[in-house]
Symmetry: C2
DNA sequence: CAACTAAACGGACCGCGGTCCACTTATGTT
DNA sequence: AACATAAGTGGACCGCGGTCCGTTTAGTTG
């Protein structure tokens, strides 16, 4: 016995070498396609072809197109999580919870401005729109900030309601179709938070 | 000259007799399919076949699957509009604007409970999710109620942000996946409105 | 090194949304 | 009644997301 063989609950065995290699190839190919031809050009066939693998492999790795998009966003998402969990104020711990909430919204809006198209593509599927682990983290974060700010009430649902106007699809619509500026969206977010947390 | 031939801006000529007949057939067929086999069974082919017309006709009439779903919701949507524009309080004019806002949210949530699946299918397309006339009416309504309630700030964006948590896809998720009750959602909505309109 | 097995692979296949265009028909005019 | 034409029609066709399953291969065991 070389290892203690503890149950390792929740930790599944690492994927095989070729699988990991193909995952990288696929992510690179997808990112390249987004960069040079836009998100609409990221079809599963195109990605598979560009990565030099079969279509089935793409689905085996990512489950669906939304899953692939989600994986593409994973890096940014983790960065944001790091920032609001361990980074400097006002996003990270140490600042007033209300200021942290405001900073959180600003950060999200800024990300939409850069990666909105991919985020929208990722939101197209139900399981990744609400059931994604990343979303759960955001909800918990907002809940804890609301609590820390002394807000009374149904924190869980209030958090969902506050997160809703930050959805990429809506923000993108406000930016592109309605011609609103990032500053205006940020100001409206701050106003919303101040109203909700007031008293 | 039998008619004054005024420009009639914004009023396009009525559709031909056979076209109107087929529109009805298609809507009936779609509604029937929803009722007996669920919204997923409402494929464009199935609807066309059940209505006894070609597939092209369905797209000519409704533009897309989302458009068809939207048309299916049109009746309910108009009813709601009538209610909050001309109906009795608290939804209609006469009541306190804050109470009207609260009633509006309750009404929307109740509709999701009944027609949520179809609404979700209708929300899948961009042009019908935000650019739909029905949505514009809702936004204007909320804006005017906010104004009437004496709320200061960016009414347009605040209205969008308040409407966001009422989106069918999210409400459906909260009801079905998270197991929340309609009452809880209604209470959270009321709480949100009171917070936002306070001071 | 040979044998074995679970994992990964790939591409044919399917169904659906959406487009296109040659053909048909309703409707108003002379 | 014959005509003109704009509107409507239908179904072949396309591309994409997603599934399936026979084949290949990486990693392990003796």
């Amino acid at each position: 016995m070389t290892s203690p063989l503890l149950p390792q609950i929740g930790v599944d065995p690492p994927e095989r070498g070729d699988a990991a290699r193909n995952r990288r190839r696929l992510l690179d190919a997808a990112a390249l396609l987004v960069a040079e031809r836009g998100v609409d050009a990221v079809t599963m066939d195109a990605v598979a072809c560009k990565a030099g693998v079969g279509k089935g492999t793409v689905f085996r790795r990512f489950g669906s197109r939304s899953g692939l998009m989600h994986a593409l966003l994973d890096h940014t998402e983790r960065e944001l999580q790091q920032s609001f969990m361990f980074g400097p104020p006002p996003l990270g711990p140490g600042a007033d919870p209300i200021d942290r909430l405001i900073a959180f919204g600003h950060a999200r809006i800024a990300i939409v401005e850069v990666q909105g198209e991919v985020q929208r593509a990722a939101e197209n599927s139900l399981e990744f729109r609400f059931a994604a682990p990343a979303r759960a983290v955001s909800v918990r974060h907002v809940v804890s900030l609301l609590r820390a700010a002394g807000v009374q009430g149904d924190h869980e649902l209030l958090a969902c309601s506050l997160l809703a106007p930050l959805e990429a699809t809506l923000v993108l619509h406000e930016l592109r179709d309605l011609g609103m500026s990032v500053e205006r969206l940020g100001a409206a977010w701050e106003d919303l938070i101040r109203r909700v947390t007031r008293c």
